[in-house]
């Protein structure tokens, strides 16, 4: 049987090679021209603890982590018990025979560590696994050897030794799998993309996008799943005029980037839900005093400390309205690793363009998954600069109802950036006429951020699907499956949630029903759409896991059937 799609779940304890095996398989596959995506979960403890990662290999670009598990690699018995149910009919289970034995007829044992040790390279255990997996789908040996060569040829004295032990490990894995007699089919040969690619995680894409956009100042406080952005910045945002720093809290992070934004720098921080809560007052100040800055919220589950290592889309209301008083933050919510890059560039551009805070909302599932994406052509990714004041002293920074040039400290045009309501010079005032003017001014600037790109398909349908953020991938797969079945449903998607592109809003208003699958209890985006007078209804899930395509297909059909019934009644 020819397969276009191959899904492997690796499960075990932290430290057993669950993640390295999955990422190794993904890298080996992309190297020879397949597309790959991993979905990672984390143990919530430092040593050990149950964890799993899924790798999906396809001949075509990938949208989701896949819910048909072809192979489960169980590194220990608990992993087998937890995940065996997820294996599709006809699927295979490989268990770590060094750790336990079992008799499931779908399974065979692989002595992962002892086989690795027999090559003289204890660290080659994941290669044993990759070799066995390759055998199950008849992936040619030379593909794997090319990967090993590319990965381990580093100009060290013992390169040859390392490479040959890794190749031997793969051969042993292959041999064991062949002897087991299990076969899944033949993975179709890859269609190597004719463009340059990158293989990276969502958080890395955000960091690269921000850097391209000109971020020069970064302050952050460690928190899962945003920490990797801080670490990336501390390592890479170095050199003249650049500054990255771990400060003492999210309150320090937001206020420090506010100071930097005021002083003329493109400034950013990244955090997760608990940090957004602490940044509330600072975000309000940036809105009030009109100071450009970008806050990345890599969402995780739950209120308070919640579920630090799971994925959820439950911060939307909190990010739109993070602060007291009349505020409404611009929100960009990328829906893929690739969009994390472009979303980050645009978030920085927006902050500079409208002179205020912008929130970029990502999710744990995108932050930590590895995916191949087309390498962005930077010559085509525009970077915007702030409108700065060039005149003399005596300037009225906050005059009028529209955006005005921003003075840079050190030069003429001094003013007070004031978090109290203020007059045109930035002095505190309580005059009703000023509060009216300034409130309208702050909201009017949002118009500068309208008119953005959105996706639409089958637009004449009366019912449409509209996911947001990281649910885009699975929902798009569900949409494709529904269309294939002949279901008349439309598709809308944008990462620009606020302000929403006005044309998109108008199209959505014309629908009988807009179905919004989202990973939260309240149906937060569906609620926002109702503010916009769109007839929306959510499909919610709050498991800490992403949507499964098959379940989405069923639930969409149910909602459509109900709607037809109501329409008839």
């Amino acid at each position: 049987m020819l397969m276009n799609d191959f899904v492997v779940r690796f499960a075990g304890e932290g430290g057993q090679g669950v993640v390295t095996s999955a990422e190794g398989l993904a890298q080996a596959s992309t190297q020879v021209g397949y597309h790959a995506l991993t979905y990672a979960t984390f143990p919530s403890q430092i040593l050990g603890g149950p964890t799993w990662t899924q790798a999906r290999i396809c001949t075509e670009p990938i949208l989701s982590s896949g819910d048909q598990v072809d192979v489960l690699v169980a590194f220990n018995e608990e992993a087998y018990e937890t995940h065996a149910e997820e294996v599709r009919e006809g699927g295979v289970i490989i268990y770590n025979a060094d750790d336990f034995t079992m008799t499931d007829p779908r399974s065979f044992g692989l002595a992962v560590d002892s086989l690795a040790r027999s090559t003289g390279n204890n660290r080659a255990a994941n290669m044993v696994v990759i070799g066995a997996l390759a055998q199950l789908v008849h992936m040619p040996q030379d593909y794997l050897e090319d990967f090993v060569e590319a990965r381990f040829r580093r100009g060290r004295d013992n390169d040859d030794e390392i490479i040959s032990s890794n190749i031997e490990a793969m051969r042993l894995g292959r041999q064991n799998a062949a002897e087991s007699g299990f076969v899944l089919g033949d993975l179709a040969p890859p269609n190597p993309p004719d463009y340059q690619q990158l293989m990276l995680k969502g958080n890395e894409a955000i960091a690269l996008g921000a850097t391209h956009a000109g971020v020069q100042f970064y302050a952050g406080y460690p928190i899962s799943p945003a920490t990797t952005i801080l670490l990336w910045m501390e390592r890479n945002l170095v050199g003249e005029d650049k500054f990255a720093y771990q400060v003492s809290s999210e309150i320090e992070a937001i206020t420090a980037i506010l100071g930097a934004g005021y002083a003329g720098k493109k400034a950013m921080t990244a955090t997760a839900g608990p940090g957004i809560s602490l940044m509330s007052e600072g975000l309000g100040l940036a809105w009030m005093a009109e100071i450009p800055l970008v806050v990345v919220d890599v969402q995780r589950g739950g209120p308070a400390t919640g579920l630090p290592t799971t994925t959820e889309q439950s911060d939307l209301m909190g990010c739109l309205f993070p602060a007291h008083g009349d505020v409404r933050m611009p929100i960009i919510a990328p829906g893929s690793v690739e969009e994390c890059f472009y979303g980050a560039v645009q978030a920085v551009n927006w902050a500079e363009r409208y002179q205020g805070p912008v929130i970029l909302m990502s999710e744990m599932s995108m932050a930590e998954r590895v995916q191949n994406i087309p390498r962005p052509d930077l010559s085509k990714v525009a970077v915007e600069e702030r409108l700065t004041y060039e005149g003399g002293n005596g300037y009225h920074r906050y005059s009028g109802h529209e955006l005005s040039p921003m003075p840079l400290p050190g030069g003429p045009g001094s003013y007070v950036a004031n978090g109290s309501e203020h007059d045109e010079m930035g002095d505190t005032t309580h005059l009703p006429s000023r509060h009216i003017q300034m409130t309208e001014r702050r909201f009017s600037k949002l118009r500068l951020l309208e008119e953005n790109h959105y996706e639409s398909d089958n637009t004449q349908a009366k019912i449409a699907l509209m996911p947001w953020g990281g649910s885009k991938g699975p929902v798009r797969e569900a949409y494709d499956a529904l269309r294939e079945e002949g279901v008349d449903i439309g598709w809308y998607y944008t990462m620009f949630l606020h302000p929403i592109p006005p044309k998109l809003r108008d199209e959505l208003r014309a629908k009988e029903l807009v179905i919004v699958p989202e990973l939260n209890y309240q149906g937060q985006w569906a609620n926002i759409l109702r503010f916009h007078r769109v007839a929306s209804t959510p499909i919610t899930q709050y498991t800490g896991l992403p949507f499964k395509v098959s379940e989405l297909v069923t639930r969409v059909k149910e909602i459509m059937a109900e709607h037809m019934e109501e329409a008839r009644a």
Partner: protein
Amino acid sequence: MSKKNPEYDFKWCPGCGDFGVRRALEFAMINRLEETGLPIENNVVVAGIGCSGNLVHLLEGEQPYGIHGIHGRTLPVAMGVKMARPELNVIVVAGDGDFLSIGGEHIAPQAARNVNVTAVIMDNGVYGLTKGQSSPTTEMGAVTSSTPFGKVEEDLDPLELYLTLGVSFIASGFSGQPRVLARLINEGMNHDGMSMIHVQSPCVTYNDTFQLIKGNAKEGIAPALWDIPDDHDPSSKQAAYDLVQQGGLPVGVIYKDESRASLEGNMGSIRAKARERSIDQLMDAYAF
């Protein structure tokens, strides 16, 4: 505000100590202009929330840049401005409530970093703007609007706190001596690292301590104010501790550690260890 702005609707009470601090800061900025030739706009005044923070709107003459933000966050805002644009001179003005209570969590880390900003703390031993509640420096036992039966918390000694937290320049002054205070502020500005000028700036409405500070011979009240003698060695931490233990209101430089590099300096040295890469090179790391 260079001239009277009819829209600005905040006024200090007549006789408020903060007038003197304002005068001192104006002198200090002019002194700095004369010393360095850098324009007044080279100064950024980061103000806390309180009667004290309104100083940023009430400055007369040439206007510096200012940020009048949120309660308690002057230090991290100032760090942001300074590390973004080290060529700017960054000055914090904040009240005792703003700086030592809600903002207290920022003193230790910013002192450890030795961020090169100058903080002028305007201590009136009370929350003025919110009408007379107790603050960390309100005396234990004092009756205020929020301690109707007397304050039950030990009062904080800010000078000792700054010493303990490792602030590298500490001075103490009185708002009634603007020229003296200006000199202390200038010395703080010239210090390469975090400087704190703690000022007694009495609130005539809710906690009038002028008489206690200056004394009143007729009523037999000895002045709390005393000048730090010339033989005090501000480079000695022990001498500084001994000095603040003497109580009263010392005027002068208490402690000055010039051996430590500022955050800018330390960032400059770690830069040598890091390799700066272009965006293309950074992307190459993910290419395959």
